[in-house]
Amino acid sequence: MRPTSNKTLSSIISSQPIRGISDYFSINRKIERAIINNEILYDKSINIAILSSFTINGIKETLRVQCGEFGVLTNFYVGGYNQYAQEILEPQSGLYKFNPVLVIIFIDTRAITGDSFFLPYELSNDERQDWIEDKVNEIVSLAKVVSERSLAKVILHNFEVPAYSPLGLIESKQEIGFIESIEIINQNIREQFKRNNQVFIFDYNAFCSYVGKQNVIDYKMYYLADVRVNPQYIPHLCKAYTGYIRAIASLTKKCIVLDLDNILWGGVVGEDGIEGIALGPTPDGRPFLEFQKYLLSFFYRGVILAINSKNNPADVIEVLREHPYMLLRERHFAAMRINWDDKVANMKSLAKEINIGLDSLVFIDDEQVNREIMREFLPEVTVVDMPKDPALYARTLMELDIFHSINITEEDKHKGSMYEDDKKRRDLLQSTNDLTEYLRQLDITVLIEEANTRTIPRISQLTQKTNQFNMTTRRYTEQEITQFVNSNNCRVVSVQVSDKFGNNGLTGLAIIEKMDKRIWRIDTFLLSCRIIGRKVEDTLLAYIVDEAKKEGAELLHGEFIISKKNKPADDFYSKSGFTKIHHCGELEVWEYDLMNNYPFPDFIEVIIK
């Protein structure tokens, strides 16, 4: 699901400013026309189905434009008016024929309460108890049916908790109150899907609170056409959905690159000194203190932090080490550029040092001119429009929905500290001159494991994201990986790498097809850039050679497809004793005679699970 490289999409979107929902409508039409006229070329688009209990117009138009903003094309299937149950329960329904990647189930409170919305106390407590159970079962089973019949991710809305009760002040004195009953339903459906990797609860109640429950419904629209979301809030709702879509398309951002003066603290350290900057429990210092708290929470969830600042390094290091209220310390930053060079050059060298693409970077700077220059020269970098008032910094960060991951893998949880470990590794490398000696000192352990339901999301994520050490750059969805795993003539093998500085998690894999008794074909072979150069690739290849021999194969075929980014992988097969036997277009086939042995590197401990 690579974003389209075609410029047409972005030029259509930037052709008019977006002020209201009518702009989404007209831009959407331009996109639709361009698609019909074949003016937009793309590899893949994302199929999104919307099922709702009421008139849901406006979402597909808005969402198509918002997804286009980050280069993703979308197709929509909108279920019939209040037809959600039939769509889900009928195996041959349009929903399943559409083959969605994402299904949004939006059933609203009025739909499940019916007349009880106004006359909830017609039910006795016992009846209300039964009603709660019925509704939870109904909603949970609908979402489960979708997840069983398709491989789509499901966004299941929870229910808006009414702000009104016919009993007024004594609502909270009821054994099971009306408002309470909706809260219980919300709790129960959330509980049901906590361990489900496919169904995600969308906290629509929180969304309504955020935009305002009195605003979210426009009664006139509701009575005239059963519209239950005020059209003016459709863009906000869609924005929330884009967080999921970015995650599904593996377009989430990985790293926040921060300016320092008037971003992490108030004032200019070079002029005001460490005592003069605003940071701490004072009115002018708290916005920066809390902004740092949010950044720290991003660090802990796996977002990488880096610095790009025009300053004297000594001034900054003093603040990082000595300032009593500085929450972010040197160890939180995977890399730092504190100098008087231009920020664009710094940005490029940061990306290189951290070893991630420019399109994974988010730039935060208080000066508009710096932001404009970054946009101009490095359009791949996401530039955040920071508000003038530092009081709004934390909120701006909270509202960014570009870091979401739909599969919080173990690797994601530990990412922040993994990059910290990496910095220690680089320091060791600088102090050790001999590479083999360095690798030996790392005490590397490689755990090799066949793919399973726990690792499939991460495996798919790696095929989507890995560009450099990737022999064929074939992108696979979770669905496709699952098919390989279930197939008798395929093997999907992953490696997890750890060393004395920490655990890198699942960072390499191979997909092998047994062509026949004699020949095994390596369809995919990749390593995350973080572990390139530690002989992990040799370990994985040695394992494949061993396994192929065990099953009596005679030849191993490794495929290589050149891409713009996989230079680090291009001599791997030739270095490893393979011979090129075939070259057709971009595809090279390399052969290894399994009469030969392929040794495991002696300094790596290998565990086969």
């Binding site: 009518s22 409508f25 007209s26 008139t55 629209m221 009575y223 005239l224 059209p231």
Partner: protein, 89 residues
Amino acid sequence: MIKQYNENIKKLLAILSKILDIDENIITDETSPRNTETWDSFNALMIVSELENTFNIHFTMDEVTAVTCVGDIKEALKRHGIDMDSNKE
């Protein structure tokens, strides 16, 4: 005579053009659901929503259902104090 549209009329025409997918230049007071294919009941509500948002006003349900053409919209806007005179500098 060159028509000098005022800002409010420009805003109205922009909204109609974007939602109904028609050129601003062909919109007249007589433009209506009968002669405009894209003016369906849903787009009618979108027009209402965008007008309310743009001019910071609220129509009643009766006002919405009474509209039969662009001329009616202008009249409704005028009743809410929005200046709709065209030939103004």
